[in-house]
């Protein structure tokens, strides 16, 4: 067992024994060695289930919405992206800071589960796509901290080298080619809503896609409804996406969802200045306020 896992279990045990929180949300080993799904620990004697390894992909801040009316505190482990998700929920007043105990854990970059399955346990498994471009491996907010922060110059270097080449490749296509590309992707969308349900930015009390009586979206699965879903989902998380990449990881149809999210991030950076969601809790949201200097070519 690594020192980090030992420390994790120690902190969780302490929190539960002292009664500081009723539940600790972390990760545990799943069906296979390359799966580390969320774990909910209620008792000190269960802390040994907790792990920290290359596959702790799930963004645990998503679960905080389930504990809004929970009595007492909830403790969760946060990687960099989980902490940004936490900040986002806090900024939207979806959760209360003093009801959550955050245990920060710097992330070394997680590994690709599909590749792990394919290559086997002893192989050199590449990083998950979502982690390759990560610029915030260190938790930005925490009450406890485990391990050492990733060197800041390394993080800064990653920021410098921000890579939008995948978005640019699509931008150079003609409108017809773009349409064809995205139609092909979303034609196979099952509308299982896993991307929405795993997304920490998707925190509406009632999602537009569930307002079936209003009929924003039809029940049918076809190109037109799927496109409406794809565009609306992307626009609704614009300015809120913290780039944890969970939507794309969980998509059973391998739709490159982050490409849409990244396009919107790129546009926001261009129109309103560089912005990273969930970093500065007190700052204003680029699409959440009006500034006299905002571009308004469309007027």
């Amino acid at each position: 067992m690594s020192d980090k896992v030992k420390k994790m279990q120690e902190i969780a045990r302490e929190i539960l024994e002292k009664g500081e929180a009723k539940v600790v949300i972390g990760w545990e080993k799943g069906t296979h060695w390359y799966l580390s799904p969320p774990a909910f620990i209620d008792k000190p004697e269960e802390v040994e289930r907790l792990v920290w390894d290359d596959f702790c992909h799930n963004n645990l801040s998503k679960y905080l919405k389930d504990y809004v009316n929970h009595e007492g505190k909830v403790a969760i482990f946060v990687k960099g992206c989980d902490s940004r998700a936490f900040n986002r929920l806090l900024q939207d007043k979806q959760i209360e800071r003093d009801k959550v105990i955050l245990i920060g854990i710097p992330c070394h970059g997680l590994k690709d589960q599909d590749k792990a399955k394919e290559l086997g346990e002893n192989a050199d498994i590449p990083k998950a796509k979502k982690c390759v471009e990560c610029r915030y491996p260190n938790p930005l907010v925490y009450d406890y901290f485990i391990g050492e922060e990733k060197a800041l110059d390394e993080v800064a270097a990653a920021s410098e080298a921000r890579d939008f080449s995948d978005v640019e490749a699509i931008e150079t296509l003609s409108p017809d080619e773009k349409y064809e590309f995205w139609n092909k992707q979303y034609e196979r969308c099952l509308r299982c809503y896993a991307c929405r349900n795993v997304c920490p930015a998707c925190s509406c009390r009632e999602c537009i896609f569930d307002q079936t009586r209003v009929g924003w979206i039809g029940k049918a699965n076809n190109a037109s409804e799927n496109q409406f879903f794809a565009l609306t989902r992307a626009m609704h998380v614009a300015g809120l996406c913290i780039e944890c990449g969970e939507c794309e990881r969980v998509c059973p149809m391998n739709i490159p969802i982050m490409l849409l999210n990244k396009k919107l991030i790129k546009d926001i950076n261009l129109l309103f200045g560089p912005y990273d969601a969930g970093v500065d809790v007190d700052g204003k949201l680029p699409l959440g306020h009006f500034d006299k200097n905002d571009p308004e070519e469309f007027m």
């Binding site: 799943g30 069906t31 296979h32 799966l35 799904p37 969320p38 774990a39 909910f40 799930n58 998503k62 679960y63 389930d66 399955k117 092909k184 992707q185 196979r188 099952l190 299982c192 809503y193 896993a194 929405r196 349900n197 795993v198 569930d210 079936t212 039809g218 029940k219 049918a220 699965n221 076809n222 969970e246 990881r249 969980v250 059973p252 149809m253 391998n254």
Partner: protein, 330 residues
């Protein structure tokens, strides 16, 4: 046994495609599923496909009829019937069993679903045996024989570089006759199935669940669930649907679409009441339906051990783990 080299399968499909729509396991845009055979299609015969054959009989969106409504006047128009026989090649035992489950729902107990029945009657099923279970397969634990499925018209056997055929029904014999010139009669033995990575001990679970509706186990099992519908939409047996209308002016189409007990709308009632308001109620329903209610009504499990939900669940809510927890519960 009549055999053919795997490399010659496209030729065989080509020949059948003259008279039938031939669904084969294929990889399209990176996703494996059953697709009508056409030249150049990338076959996916090494492993079972991600999307089960369910949608051939029970499409995700099915048009039922058209209507015209104006003032007091209503006119209903049937859609033109679909015609032609279809062959579905390469249905694994788990998926053959799932078609058996769907048959129970859509064809028995005095309820016959005309849309399902029509597609089913026009279909000839060719099963395909498995040699190496995939990492999430546990069909043998659910009473399914990976080497020989139920309800196939022809059972095909994976013989390594060849595929062997055994006609089961008259329809199957007739079909084999049509491709006889491509087949070779030779002695062949079906390879033994390799060891399963995943297993489940289902013995006594349906009975035990009868007294577990209010068991605290559900409070724990449900917590990580996101209430998405990956599990239901990749499941070969999940068959819930919702009927809706697409209306433009006076014209409308009735459609029925896959639905799932994971969704809020599924049980939301006209007055707004929600009898299954949260994760607990919905997750419980999913497993109760698969492991208790369906066995009670039809005397068979509504899980065939295909492992698709285990492979695709975003939070690894593994049904074999749920079965284990039910077994261990006090």
């Amino acid at each position: 046994m009549k055999t053919v080299l795997k490399t010659k399968l496209p030729e065989l499909f080509e020949k059948l495609a003259n008279n039938y729509t031939v669904f084969v396991p294929a990889k399209i845009e990176g996703i494996s599923r059953f697709a009508p055979y056409q030249n150049g299609l990338e076959l996916a015969l090494e492993e079972n496909v991600l999307m089960p054959p369910k949608d051939i009989f029970f499409p995700q969106t099915e048009k039922m009829y058209k209507f015209k409504a104006k003032d007091q006047y209503l006119e209903i128009e049937d859609l033109p019937p679909e015609e032609g026989q279809q062959v579905i090649f390469g249905v694994r035992s788990c998926d053959l069993k799932s078609i058996d489950c769907l048959d129970q729902v859509f064809l028995t107990k005095g309820f016959v679903d005309a849309f399902y029945q029509d597609k089913r009657d026009r279909s000839i099923l060719i099963g395909l045996s498995c040699v190496k279970p995939m990492e999430n397969c546990f069909c043998s634990s659910m009473g399914v024989d990976p080497q020989k499925g139920v309800g196939a018209d022809i059972q095909a056997y994976d013989l390594g570089d060849k595929v062997g055929f055994e006609a089961i029904t008259e329809k199957g014999r007739e079909l084999l006759g049509k491709i006889e010139t491509l087949l070779v009669e030779e002695a062949a033995s079906v390879p033994a199935v390799e060891k399963f990575v995943l297993t489940a001990d289902i013995e006594g679970v349906p009975e035990k669940l009868k007294n577990m509706f209010d068991h605290p186990i559900w409070d724990d099992i449900c917590r990580k669930c996101l209430n998405c519908s990956v599990c239901a939409f990749v499941c070969p047996t999940c068959h819930c649907f919702d009927i809706a209308s697409e209306v433009r002016g006076e014209d409308g189409t009735k459609i029925r679409c896959w639905d799932t007990c994971m969704f809020d709308e599924y049980t939301r009632m006209a007055g707004g009441h929600q009898p299954r308001p949260g994760k607990k109620e919905r997750v419980r329903n999913r497993f109760m339906h698969k492991l208790r209610y369906f066995p009670e009504r039809y005397d068979m499990l509504l899980c065939t051990g295909c492992g698709r939900c285990v492979a695709k669940c975003p939070v690894n809510l593994d049904i074999t783990a749920v079965i284990r927890k039910i077994k261990e519960a006090e």
